[in-house]
């Protein structure tokens, strides 16, 4: 059986990739994808723990979170659409009307 730490390491790596992407990317869609990565890293954690704890609730939790991530993505794309309609671009670093 694969040791728990490997899962955790995988999860950490995926999470870090997501985080890196979140910070470095400009395109809104990509950033949204990176968020999905991070959420999924957490899901890996949950499932791994669930399996190692012999407790189903972690997997249930993961299922819920996938559903939620989908919702979030949906609403995210909707907002992206609005942004795109307004400025023909979804480069988020140009999105700074609101500051200071």
């Amino acid at each position: 059986m694969i040791p728990l730490n490997w899962y955790l390491a995988l999860s950490a790596i995926i999470f870090s990739i997501g985080l890196y992407g979140f910070i470095s990317q400009k395109n809104g869609i990509r950033i949204l994808m990176c968020v999905e990565l991070m959420l999924n890293a957490a899901n890996i954690n949950l499932v791994a723990f669930s399996s190692y704890n012999d407790d189903m609730s972690g997997q249930v939790f993961a299922l819920f979170s996938i559903a939620l991530a989908a919702c979030e993505a949906a609403i995210g794309f909707a907002i992206m659409m609005s942004v795109y309609r307004m400025r023909d671009s979804i480069n988020l670093d140009e999105l700074n009307l609101l500051r200071w």
Binding site: F61, C71, I75, I79, M86
Partner: protein
């Protein structure tokens, strides 16, 4: 079933949301005003159910939901805020073709918040938390044609998603170390987590996750942008409602579930509370946009409420909990007052980039006396001037820090409180001491009603605080059980 009676408020809110959505689809945009009344009625009914069953105590659905004074208190807060927002929105959504969506989202967000309040399991808590969040993401971007609104929604969404990820990560660690997602269960299985380095990481991730919603510095960055860019009624909901949701979640997770690690998280909250209140107040000083100023003020107030985590005595929790209610009234009222001003600016077709710019508040005392008076009371309440709700809750919260000997914290809080007076007083000065432009504007009835409800709330807690203190104490006693 008797148990379902306890869930009646949630059910009413959800059903109202659905009804509004269904009816709205089949209505012409001219007659959609009725939706607002329906939503308001729903909130009122739910509120009545909550008050009627206030001291109920029950566990439901395999112990994943817990109805107790704490949850009832926060439901009260959320419903009051939802009520105020619904009433105010009757005017805001007038002649809008998406009225049903707006109300449905408000009610669903409220529904989510209410579930967070009674969640007894991290899974329920997370799902409800996200429900409320997602609904508010959409609400923030409700003005699809307004670049600021959309930008606000965008930032809110992305930062929200990031923090959700952090939160989920934190929850996963807690789950991993304790083997359960039940909040009381976690409290009983804390040995591994408390002794493991992962415990610290989990706590910080959870703080970051909740801190995002609470708007603790440095997780607050979205808040000023979003509060400023969103429609004012939505800002009211965000500041007065969803922020409180994060508080109740944090109360449950930290004080009930993770009590064994209180040394760590009290430290964290101490640092964050001090930074948050100071930063919020200092930056608010030079804001020109009133909504942005209120946002920073919100951040500062979050800092005060977080003191409850640091002091962690029954009195402090009472104060913190009472503060959430008081802040709900004050902040909701204040944002709605800005909504009235924005309405005025649009009506007068002023050429202004930022409709809530402080210059537009000049002479408000003459132009819109009720709004100005209410806003004055709200900002003075926020500053903690008696006899208002803000003073009463600060009184209990700050005094508890003295009681537990944390004089330094009290001093910092009090200096901050005095500092905040500067920007509040400036706003008041603009309203009363500056000459006004244009004619007197008649204030729309829904806005006035919402403002007056908030005003009554603020003054009632200030003048006759006993019943509110009483229920806040009951709510706190739920948390205190473990201490």
């Amino acid at each position: 079933m008797v148990d379902l009676m306890l869930l009646a408020p949630e059910i009413i809110v959800a059903l109202t949301g659905l009804i509004v959505l269904m009816i709205g689809i089949f209505m012409g945009s001219s007659s959609k005003n009725v939706l607002g009344y329906i939503a308001t009625a729903g909130c009122l009914a739910a509120l009545a159910m909550v008050i009627g069953n206030f001291s109920a105590s029950a566990l439901m659905f395999s112990d994943t939901l817990s109805v107790d004074p704490l949850s009832q208190f926060f439901k009260l807060v959320f419903l009051v805020v939802a009520l105020i927002v619904s009433i105010a929105s009757i005017k805001y959504t007038e002649d809008n073709k998406d009225t049903e969506i707006f109300y449905a989202l408000v009610l669903f967000a409220t529904f989510g918040m209410m579930f967070v309040a009674s969640a007894n399991d991290l899974m329920v808590l997370f799902v409800a938390f996200e429900l409320a969040s997602i609904a508010t993401y959409a609400l923030a971007g409700f003005e699809k044609k307004n670049p600021r609104s959309v930008e606000a929604a965008m930032k809110y969404l992305l930062m929200g998603a990031l923090s959700a990820a952090l939160l989920l990560m934190g929850i996963s660690f807690v789950y991993g170390a304790t083997g359960t997602t039940s909040i009381p269960g976690i409290a009983q299985n804390m040995d591994v987590l408390a002794s493991n380095a992962i415990g610290l990481l989990a706590i910080v991730l959870l703080i970051a996750g909740f801190g995002f919603k609470i708007a603790l510095v440095p997780f607050h960055m979205w808040a000023p942008d979003t509060y400023q860019g969103s429609p004012s009624v939505v800002s009211a909901l965000l500041a007065a409602g969803s922020k409180k949701m994060a508080f109740v979640a944090a109360f449950k997770v930290f004080i009930v579930a993770l009590l064994a690690m209180q040394a760590d998280w009290r430290m964290a909250f101490a640092i964050l509370a001090v930074i948050t209140m100071t930063y919020g107040n200092v930056v608010a000083l030079s804001q020109k946009s009133v909504k942005r100023m209120l946002a920073y003020s919100s951040i500062a107030q979050a800092g005060y409420i977080s003191m409850a985590f640091v002091v962690l005595t029954p009195m402090a929790l009472t104060g913190g909990i009472l503060y959430t209610l008081a802040h709900g009234f004050m902040k909701a009222g204040a944002f709605i007052a800005t909504a009235v001003v924005v309405y005025m600016v649009i009506k007068e077709k002023r050429d202004t980039e930022i409709p809530d710019h402080i210059d537009n508040f000049k002479g408000l005392g003459k132009k819109m006396p009720i709004t100005a008076l209410c806003l004055t009371v709200f900002v003075f309440a926020l500053a903690g001037i008696p006899p208002t709700a803000g003073y009463m809750s600060k009184f209990i919260l700050f005094s508890s820090t003295i009681q537990s000997g944390m004089v330094w914290l009290a001093v910092i809080a009090i200096l901050n409180s005095a500092l905040s007076l500067y920007y509040y007083a400036r706003l008041v000065r603009y309203m009363y001491a500056m000459p006004h432009e244009g004619e007197k504007v008649s204030e729309p009835v829904p806005y006035v009603a919402a403002l007056l409800i908030s005003l009554v709330g603020v003054m009632a807690i200030g003048l006759w605080p006993e019943p509110f203190v009483e229920i806040a104490m009951q709510a706190a006693s739920v948390l205190v059980g473990g201490i």
